[in-house]
């Protein structure tokens, strides 16, 4: 099953694959309309390996047609069979589609010149191998994966990727462009792998949300338990965003994908 959403206000989508429980929450920047939301997300059940692919992408404010590019990146990843850096070498069809959508469109001089620069987005894709209980993550830019384990007991952030600290977020990250600019992405691609246990939680978040969650974690006030137990509806996400805005959450588009992993072997034993 694959879903890509843009323009949903504090939206939620739940798809309980056999191996994972996935919920997606999103919300546009305060002051912007739903149509101006420029993040994207996608997830899809996969056969080889058996598991799931999840992606989030964050279109850059200072680029044009960025929402379209973010959607194309997220969709391309979940439909791809490539989980490593080689995925980025196969972006030609997505780039072509981006150009086609703009072709022939009458644009004023400034819009035309901005489109010439291309659109830019941060990207994070995670492939979960349900049989091996492993994840492989791929990132360019500042969308972040947070892997939290021992859910319900100690709740510990096992890994945060590709950024580890809230101070590492900047307003000018290196992003993926919709036009091949001749510069090699190679040095900017980051890949990480990890093991999953039954009940582990993976959070995929766009930059402002990720930075805030990491900041809370650094301050000894993590929201992991709340995210696992209480975050369930668009209303609860909206309440968290409203609280965050009064407590250091930067105004931006927000996307948060929560994946809870279920180890099928544990379930089989229990049954």
């Amino acid at each position: 099953m694959s879903t890509t959403a843009v323009g949903t206000s504090c939206g939620e989508a739940r798809h309980a694959a056999n191996e994972c429980d996935i919920k997606v929450f999103s919300c546009p920047k305060l002051g912007n309309s739903l149509e101006e939301y420029e993040d994207a997300w996608a997830h899809r059940h996969t056969g080889t390996p058996v598991g799931i692919r999840v992606a989030v992408a964050d279109g850059a404010t200072e680029s044009s047609f960025a929402k379209l590019w973010a959607v194309l990146l997220a969709e391309s990843y979940v439909r791809s069979e490539l989980a490593g850096a080689e995925f980025f070498a196969r972006l030609k069809p997505a780039r072509r589609l981006w150009r086609r959508r703009l072709a022939g469109r009458p644009l004023p001089w400034f819009a035309s010149e901005k489109a010439e620069q291309g659109a830019f987005a941060a990207f994070l894709g995670v492939e979960i191998d349900a049989h091996k209980n492993r994840w492989t993550a791929l990132a360019v830019g500042d969308c972040c994966l947070m892997h939290v384990d021992d859910v319900g007991k100690r709740m510990r952030a096992v890994e945060t990727f590709p950024l580890q600290r809230s101070s590492q977020f900047t307003m000018s990250p290196y992003l993926i462009g919709s036009r091949s600019d001749g510069e090699s992405l190679q040095d900017r691609i980051q890949v990480s792998k990890g093991s999953l246990r039954d009940g582990d939680m993976l959070l995929l978040a766009t930059d402002a949300m990720a930075a805030w969650l990491l900041k809370r974690h650094e301050e000894g006030r993590p929201l992991w338990k709340w995210l696992y137990r209480k975050l369930g509806t668009p209303e609860s996400f909206a309440a968290m965003v409203a609280y965050g805005r009064k407590n250091g959450l930067r105004n931006d588009d927000f996307t948060l994908v929560r994946v809870i992993h279920h180890d099928s072997r544990v379930e089989a034993k229990e049954s």
């Binding site: 644009l107 004023p108 001089w109 400034f110 819009a111 105004n251």
Partner: protein, 282 residues
């Protein structure tokens, strides 16, 4: 803490340019190619700044009013709005209106990558808002007074907004009073988020290396440059960080002063959202 206000369409930023149109701007520019006049350099800078600001605010097929922009020209005995055509007489104009109403759009040829390892000629649109003009004295103090009035009104209308940035482009000699005293009055205009920031771009006939965002005036070549440095605001910490990121030699106490260089990065000193590091600024 000051200078933290978010810039948005609801709470836009303000750039007010003060441009020297005195007779001395006819003199050769010391920082560029031989035979180029300071008035020509000023027009190039202003057109590029407005051009780049328009591109920065362009969003898909429209343009977002993140900024309002004004241009005041000072020459002879007076200071007045210097935008022409349909924008004549207006002190501040939303960037969307400015982008849509240049004096003319010229077509120019530039070399670009042909995608196959070579170069090709590409025709590009080149909007022009401002032509070189120079006559009479340099009533810079009158310009600073007018800027004080305009920014006071702006701060009243946008009390929680990011304070206006005034950018004065001149060859440095005020003929109508104490430049530093007037600059201080202007920089005292304030809203909830801090006071007006005044930057000075000095286009001198003196040849020599360009100087950008100095922390002190010791290396400046003449008294006019030192006076303009004195009249310039200290950069905010965000601006120092952004300038450093853009390759400018900024430091903690850097002032918004540039000597014989094009200040094209200045419009990036205000944040409007994620800027891809891999877009090369012109």
């Amino acid at each position: 803490m000051a200078y933290q206000a978010e810039i948005s369409r609801k709470n836009p930023g303000c750039f007010l340019f003060l441009v020297d149109q005195s007779e001395s701007m006819e003199d050769p520019f010391g920082g560029g190619e031989a035979g180029r006049r300071k008035a020509e350099e000023l027009a190039t800078i202003l057109n590029k700044l407005i051009h780049n600001l328009s591109i920065r605010c362009a969003k898909s097929d429209s343009i977002y009013d993140y900024f309002h922009v004004g241009v005041l020209g000072y020459s002879e005995e007076s200071c007045k709005p210097a935008l022409g055509g349909e924008l004549s007489g207006r002190s501040l104009v939303p960037i969307s209106e400015l982008a849509n109403k240049p004096l003319r759009i010229e077509e120019r040829t530039k070399k670009s990558d042909d995608g196959a390892g070579g170069v090709m000629d590409q025709t590009v649109k080149f909007p022009v808002w401002f032509d070189p003009y120079s006559k009479g004295g340099t009533p810079m103090c009158a310009a600073l007074k007018e800027a004080t009035k305009i920014t006071q009104a702006w701060c009243q209308e946008h009390p929680n907004g990011f304070p206006p940035i005034v950018i004065n482009i001149t060859d440095g000699e005020a003929t109508d009073g104490d430049l530093v005293a007037e600059a201080r009055k202007l920089a005292a205009v304030s809203g909830e988020d801090g006071s007006v920031l005044l930057f000075n771009i000095h286009l001198s006939s003196t040849a020599g290396p360009s100087i950008e965002l100095p922390g002190n005036g010791s290396k400046l070549p003449d008294q006019h440059a030192k006076q303009l440095f004195e009249a310039s605001s200290t950069l905010t910490p965000f601006m120092v960080a952004r300038a450093t990121e853009l390759g400018m030699p900024a430091e903690e106490n850097s002032r918004g002063f540039i000597f014989n260089a094009q200040p094209l990065h200045v419009i990036h000193f205000l944040d409007i959202g994620t800027r891809p590091a891999n877009v090369h600024l012109r």
